[in-house]
Symmetry: C2
DNA sequence: CCAGATGATGTGTGATCACAATTGCCGGTC
DNA sequence: GACCGGCAATTGTGATCACACATCATCTGG
């Protein structure tokens, strides 16, 4: 994977420290599947790719390791992107199937018309990407759709759990979606979700989100098995 | 809190890197409530308390921040132990009430006679501590009891979620228990759990664990509210 | 006697150097 | 041509230094 392209993920925010910026950049890159599962990376390579010294990268990476978005190979002590086992995928699916519906339910209660509008927009851009076969655009829009909801729940701990879970799911999501193509991508239950938020119906939101995730993860389990 | 006493938490394991040892030491100290909520700490202080340079402490602390066991004050950018809000406590309670019963259910299916024996022993030492009014002993034994179960589930992701949640619950658990004294400490549902593991009954294990946690967390919510 | 300025101390952050271990490459041997 | 030994480059880790900023104490001026 082109490490040189990493610098484009660095957004200028002078108030934030370097390692925070580096963390954000790497987190986004991982979530969007820039890195392949099993790919090995190195502090110095990342550092030069991001035009910073290895120091802030070390701290950002340490955090990503804590979140299991990266790992140190036990033998080498060398850095790499985790390759996903079917067992771990199942655990991720289970965890996501609990956390994210929960967030959806909380958000539904607190839902505002503004949120509903935003979600409609995000869903539109998602549909456009879907029809154009744009995998990257689909992933970005889908990510945005979900996390606008989660953010609206104002439940920091759950939000962060969801963020971490996506961080771990990201690297091979890309692989799976590239293999499948957008044709087979699920239509999701986004309309159902939007309706639930408009009606502030927590139960429907929870159920719709649960099904949305279950379908998506089933797709990945199938793809990984092959 | 006496930072000098920190070195006793450092267990000699030459194969592990310094920052791992430092992390383990700080994690255990946090789980056992050595640090008070809201207490501010510093890299150099911790480093000298652990007889290492600030470098490995930085990485260990970075990881603990990622796990929300420590935090950087937004104003100062200074390090401190998070003080717990009632809202966050509720989220912790909800998360624990899902993850840990789940782990108990998985562990029950895989339970061995050895596990049951170990749990019986742990419960005995817990009862002894309880009768002696030994808060610290109670907390250690309770921790050991729960995590022997979770370990037996062999579900890394869930195990780590539980570990992180305890890390966050630790600092003020001590405060609450000190305030309450061992007299009011819940008898727990440990016997029920042991029975479920002996019978490899997942549903009973899940239910018993759920009640165990619910009661414990209710106690803390009450104490925090006061 | 007290308030506000000023210095000293402590803080997190980042860069750089040193080091042991591992990896990868290149040339030589069988 | 395949295999193996040895050297160079790369890796993560830890220590140390420099810096900007916040905090706290002290001192000065009113």
């Amino acid at each position: 994977m082109a490490v040189e392209a990493l610098s484009s993920y660095l957004l200028k925010a002078d108030d934030a420290s370097f390692h925070d910026q580096v963390y954000d950049a790497l987190a986004e890159a991982l979530t969007e599947g820039v890195f392949a599962p099993g790919q090995s990376v190195s502090l110095r390579t990342l550092a030069s790719g991001l035009n910073v010294s290895p120091m802030p990268v070390r701290e950002a990476v340490r955090r990503l390791i804590a979140e299991k978005a990266l790992e140190l190979q036990p033998s080498n002590k060398r850095l790499r992107v985790p390759s996903l086992s079917e067992d771990r995928l199942h655990q991720l699916a289970k965890a996501r199937s609990w956390v994210e519906p929960e967030l959806a339910a909380i958000a539904a209660i607190k839902a505002t018309p503004e949120l509903v509008d935003t979600l409609k927009e995000e869903d539109d851009t998602l549909m456009v990407a879907l029809s154009k076969g744009d995998v990257e655009g689909y992933m970005k829009a889908n990510h945005a759709f979900h996390f606008h909801i989660y953010k609206a729940a104002h439940a920091d701990l759950f939000y962060d759990m969801a963020r971490t879970l996506w961080l771990q799911t990201g690297p091979f999501m890309r692989v799976v979606f590239n293999k499948l193509g957008t044709v087979q991508l699920p239509r999701d239950h986004h309309q159902e979700l939007i309706g639930a938020f408009a009606a502030r119906d927590a139960d429907t939101a929870r159920k719709a989100m649960a099904e949305d995730i279950a379908e998506g993860m089933d797709l990945m389990v199938e793809a990984v098995r092959a």
